[in-house]
């Protein structure tokens, strides 16, 4: 029984985090958080080997690899069952699926316009369309516009190289053109929706699941006032600056979840001062900082790759906060001054391509090795 209960937890997280959106966060009243981090905000949750000394951490960094931009595959469009290159009604909810014989007679242009899920099912010779069926079950046309697969995209964009377009031959001999975003969609789905055990996902900070525009008083609740500013800075500087690894964060504070890969930051020290009232008991001073983060944003799906083009959309935010330092200059807490702050940070390890997704690994390898090559 305990095992069954435990096994539900990751799924619950997935449901909770399955969301993305385009609306800016509401202007909630200022909620100042200044404290040593609690168990939910301890940096060790994501990375135990962090350098904690502020003076030894870089003030600016950019990862050597830039994550790729792509769609968040909106739920209201049908997710991966969205025929994103087709004209007319492109949602996944109305079109008929082709039989094997019909698929064999499709023109390259018609095959190109299929959804990523259809292409992948046809590639495997599965004309019962398990992936399309699963996506139709998962999605709904009346979902909120911001809901989608950003939780999968943000990690896929970091964990996998950007795929290039290619034509792949199915087990039935059908030559299926895959655009870059077709493969990105499959990677996004696999990263975000294929369940792995709890240790594969680690979170820092609690999710604020409140619309702060409607309920501004909730801004002071535990879940809506974290992530702790000290933890955020430590992980940002260590991940991007020391480990050369993008950091995934929900950059909006309240109930909407917009996961983005953070790949660059610049911190400006504005001053040093005694610890504020309520600071971490270990703190002997505070440094006031302004940190600008840069992240890759969602965009429309594309046939060609995005990195190196204007279509690899980026965004930036500026956070103002204080870092509480102990007598060794180690960051032991933090306090937000800006209302804007990330809701939570998390890591999700790269999944292995197994079972129905083994072919996806081949597809990715072929698409990154040489443009136009075909998997066996």
């Amino acid at each position: 029984m305990a095992h069954r209960t435990a096994s539900r937890i990751p799924f619950a997280f997935v449901i909770v985090l399955t969301s993305c959106g385009a609306q800016p966060p509401p202007d909630a009243p200022l909620s100042r958080v200044h404290e040593a981090w609690d168990a939910a905000n301890a940096p060790a949750r994501l990375e135990w080997k962090v350098e904690r000394s502020f003076s030894k951490l870089p003030l600016t960094a950019k990862t050597s690899v830039t994550p790729w931009a792509d769609s968040y595959w909106p739920t209201y469009r049908g997710g991966l069952a969205w025929r994103w290159q087709a004209t007319g009604d492109t949602t996944s909810f109305g079109y008929n699926l082709y039989t094997r014989e019909q698929a064999k007679s499709l023109s390259p242009s018609q095959l190109t316009s299929l959804s990523p899920a259809e292409k992948y099912d046809i590639l495997q010779g599965r004309f019962d369309y398990p992936l399309v069926t699963a996506e139709r079950r998962r999605t709904k046309p009346d979902a909120e516009a911001w809901e989608g697969l950003c939780h999968g995209w943000a990690f896929a964009a970091v964990n996998f190289p950007e795929p290039k377009p290619l034509v792949a031959r199915s087990v039935d001999g059908i030559e299926i053109p895959f655009g870059s975003s077709d493969i990105k969609a499959l990677l996004t789905f696999y990263q975000g929706e294929t369940f792995t055990p709890a240790p594969a996902r680690r979170f820092l900070g609690l999710r604020c699941n409140v619309d702060l525009a409607e309920n501004p008083s909730a801004a002071t609740s535990r879940a809506c006032r974290d992530t702790n500013a000290g933890s955020f800075h430590l992980l940002l500087a260590n991940s991007l600056g020391r480990l050369d690894r993008p950091l995934i964060a929900d950059i909006t504070r309240d109930y909407e979840v917009w996961n983005h890969p953070l790949f660059a930051f610049r911190t400006q020290v504005l001053g040093s001062q005694p610890p504020s009232e309520g600071a971490s008991p270990r703190a002997v001073r505070e440094v006031r900082v302004s940190t600008r983060i840069e992240y890759v944003r969602e965009g429309n799906p594309r046939w060609e790759t995005s990195i190196g083009t204007p279509f690899n959309y980026t965004g930036s935010d500026v956070f103002l906060y204080r870092l509480e330092l102990d007598a060794d200059d180690a960051v032991v807490g933090g306090e937000w001054e800006s209302d804007a702050r990330p809701d939570f940070l998390w890591v999700h390890e790269r999944p292995k391509f197994t079972n129905y997704y083994a072919k996806l690994g081949e597809l990715l390898e072929a698409s990154t090795r040489s443009e136009g090559s075909r998997p066996e």
Binding site: H34, E35, A39, R45, W48, A134, P274, R282, D328
Partner: protein, 459 residues
């Protein structure tokens, strides 16, 4: 945002008119055990909670209480009593070894300083000397600005100029008056080579001197006069002089002392015993001898100890078993709340068995093979044990016949790099709300959702 503190005995503010001997005797005994400050009527738990904020001046004549203290906002407050006054004079429990071991007698707790330190005012001669040096430095700085060159100060001029900039006044004559009321002084990374003229900082309670160039006893002489200091950081200074630490011996009211990343030679910490009020000690990346560790172990009021990365010189193998683990000499530190033993070569944590107030223990990168058999870690929230050759986590599991965990407050357990799947399962750690280990159990590596059976995945 403060967390509510544990309720306190009403007796903490008993009326002074009580004169009956038996009543007084009862109150005296109760006060000793509950931690009331007889002089002020202030509960010791309240004072302990605010020990660290530098802006909260306080008395430190607490004679020790059996109550643990709250961590502050966002942390659980755990109130409990232990007969600590009795336990602190006992030797620390030793590492379990097959052969009988001699009892290690730890040093007695360091004596507490008596009376409030006298606040002095800088002498006229000092102020005059400072003003002259400051004027000289200002002239050099002005000349350097005109040539776009950095000024070439001698050590005294450098200090005088830094203090002048700190004071934010127009002329050197005004510096002493401007600095006198300052309680919090941050001189981090100012390239100071001497603490001359620091007598001007007559009310300094927090003095941050990290990453300067202080290296000798003489360079620290100016600190002697700062009798009101509570927090001092000298981390990141090239303190190479074996006698350098002697210059601090008069600062007996210090509560926080940081000497990390210094070049202090071994055996330099012998005078630590005079810091009886010390509650937070930072000794990262320094060389420590057994004698140094023994000095640290005598600081029975310590709440925060960071010796991460510090190499402890061990005695020859013929030494007694307990001394083969020099950190065993820390067994008297039962008030520790946060301890960092990362990369110290520790082989066990038995000396922390009685650390009932410990909230966080960090001991990664060591040679720890097992946890204490019966840890009294009732307050422990985070245990970081990555990269240790652990073979069992049994002490963390519920005792036979009991549903409660031995470490009930534990929320974060980091075991990365220990290859621990089976042990986690065998130790019945499922009651932990969180633990983190890198290796994924193979049986649950991948689930084929949603393609095979979506509903099964949900359940």
């Amino acid at each position: 945002m403060k967390t509510s503190r544990p309720s306190l005995p009403l007796m903490c503010q008993y009326p002074s008119s009580l004169v009956f001997p038996f009543v007084l005797a009862f109150l005296g005994a109760f006060t000793l055990l509950s931690g009331c400050d007889k002089a002020s009527g202030t509960p010791s738990s309240e004072r302990n909670t605010d020990v660290f904020p530098p802006r909260a001046p306080e008395q430190s004549n607490d004679t020790g209480s059996g109550r643990s203290v709250g961590k502050g906002r966002g942390q659980g407050v755990i109130a409990q009593r232990t007969p600590e006054l009795l336990s602190t004079v006992r030797p620390a429990p030793l590492a379990p070894t097959p052969e009988p071991e001699p009892v290690v007698v730890l040093p007695s707790p360091a004596p507490l300083p008596v009376g409030e330190p006298e606040v002095r005012t800088p002498s006229e001669a000092l102020v005059a000397s400072y003003t002259r040096t400051c004027e000289s430095a200002r002239q050099k700085a002005a000349a350097a600005r005109s040539t776009n060159q950095p000024p070439s100060f001698d050590a005294d001029e450098q200090t005088a100029f830094v203090l002048y900039e700190l004071a934010l006044v127009r002329g050197c004559n005004d510096v002493a008056a401007a600095l006198a009321p300052k309680e919090w002084i941050d001189l981090t990374g100012k390239q100071l080579r001497t603490t001359s003229f620091f007598e001007l900082l007559v009310n300094a309670r927090t003095l941050l001197l990290q990453r300067n160039l202080l290296s000798t006893q003489a360079s620290l002489e100016g600190l002697k006069a700062l009798r009101t200091l509570r927090s001092l950081s000298l981390s990141g200074n090239p303190l190479e002089d074996a006698e350098a630490f002697m210059a601090l011996s008069g600062l007996s009211w210090l509560k926080t002392l940081a000497l990390s990343d210094t070049s202090l030679p071994v055996d330099a910490l012998g005078t630590l015993a005079s810091f009886g009020a010390l509650e937070s000690l930072h000794l990262r990346n320094v060389r420590l001898s057994q004698k140094d560790v023994r000095s640290v172990g005598a600081l029975s009021r310590l709440k925060v100890l960071d010796v991460s990365g510090s190499l402890v010189t061990r005695l020859p193998t013929s030494a007694r078993a307990a001394e083969r683990e020099p950190l065993s000499l820390l067994g008297n530190l039962v008030r520790l709340r946060e301890v960092d033993l990362t990369s110290t070569g520790a082989t066990h944590l038995d000396f922390l068995t009685r650390a009932t107030r410990a909230v966080e223990i960090r001991a990664s990168g060591n040679a720890i093979t097992a946890l204490p058999e019966k840890p009294q870690w009732t307050s422990l929230q985070a245990l970081v044990l990555a990269e240790n050759p652990l073979s069992s986590l049994a002490p963390l599991a519920p005792a036979p016949g009991r549903s409660a965990n031995r470490v009930p407050a534990l929320r974060t357990l980091i075991l990365e790099g220990t290859g621990f799947d089976d042990v986690v399962t065998a130790s019945r750690l499922t009651s932990l709300s969180y633990f983190n280990y890198k290796k994924t159990p193979a049986a649950a590596a991948q689930r084929k959702c949603p393609l095979e059976d979506w509903d099964a995945c949900e359940s």
